[in-house]
Assembly symmetry: C2
Homo-oligomer: 227 residues x 2
């Protein structure tokens, strides 16, 4: 029997309309839908794709929000094994991921394991949270000769990158917002700082005034620093 | 009469399926479609959206591929004026742009002029060329604690940014490919370099081996350097 193929499907930042035609078609054509089962991602991802799943088999992969590397690695391995058990039955499996699969997604860990075992894998790109946030702010991320620097949530030295010329995105800053705010102040960038909390969700909040950014912001907060 | 609204609609990197539902709906609901009339962008953008335009009024904005700042500024001003003439008639206008409007798009110049004159503007984010290229390469752009640095086509000092830790994207490197290749060699990054030429098009080429990258590559070539 021919093996199934794994698709890593980016479904965009959270707004149901910001899914691509390719993501919809890939989900509709798949035999099995895999969803990340993490406290933050599960409901959002499911809410976006549920209308395309119909009565397909749906599996939930435990993706713990932990920094314990062994624990993380074990969850990626077991997720990959579960998916492989379906690929071995010839079932094409669509692993649904918020945003874009190439940008800080848990999907890629599973993708690499499954690919290394000789299975076919394919990624379907999606709209990133930073492009969606710039759109909600009505601003550009980068023009002309300006570089754009994307800084992950737990980067070791934000100030080192904030000091470079170009525009910056600080991903999912919510948990460390007080620290990030201090760093932005120390780099004299407060008047060039914008934030979107829960972009595209009902509870979305847009901040164009640094002094209004709360220390209690949600995990899904993204900061854009211009210039 | 109520004024019309300007929508900046990202239609993705070139693959017809990589347009979002929101982009399709915005185009279908608009009264007028504006397309950039540049030698590189016109046909690609039109080919993607033509099936949604039907018999709507379509206008072409001259967007010259020049570095002459006065010439560029004049073309943005006249593009904005043309759009405003439709907004003043109450016509909602969708300006279609390849990729995402917040990432190195000509649209933003027109957007800022129109917004500064008191009109309503809205951006519809799209899939970027770098996310689409990573998907075609089956690789991530950034994992875990890795920053991602997007370097524009005409950046003054690529090596300065190539030397930083993290992953890099060199946008539209085609015209300067020989220079960029030398810079990558000088930074000892040849074994971490990938390129996609004409991503998502019929003439697409994927390079996972640095030595195979041609000095004659197209304007629409994007390089990803890992690590």
């Amino acid at each position: 029997m021919e093996k199934g193929k794994l698709y890593g499907v980016g479904i965009g930042p959270g707004d149901k309309e910001l899914i691509t035609l390719k993501a919809v078609n890939t989900i509709k054509n798949a035999d099995v839908i895999a969803l990340p089962d993490s406290f933050s991602g599960k409901n959002r991802a499911y809410e976006i794709v549920k209308e395309y799943i119909d009565d397909k088999e749906t599996i939930y992969l435990p993706m713990p929000m932990t920094k314990d590397k062994e624990h993380l690695k074990a969850s990626h391995e077991s997720g990959a094994e579960l998916i492989i058990s379906y690929l071995d039955k010839g079932k094409n499996t669509a692993f649904v991921t918020l945003g874009d699969p190439s940008v800080y997604s848990t999907y890629m860990y599973v993708h690499r394991i499954v690919e290394s075992k000789g299975y076919n894998v394919e990624m379907v790109p999606g709209v990133t949270s930073f492009c969606a946030s710039a759109a909600r702010l009505n601003i550009s991320l980068c023009d002309g000769n300006e570089p754009l620097i994307i800084i992950p949530a737990n980067y070791k030295d934000n100030k080192e990158l904030l000091k470079l010329s170009g525009n910056k995105v600080l991903m999912k800053s919510g948990k460390k917002i007080a620290k990030v705010k201090t760093e932005i102040e120390e780099c004299n960038l407060t008047d060039k700082t914008y934030m979107v909390e829960n972009c595209g969700m009902e509870e979305e909040k847009i901040y164009k005034d640094f002094s209004k950014i709360s220390d209690e912001s949600s995990y899904f907060s993204l900061i854009i620093v211009k210039g």
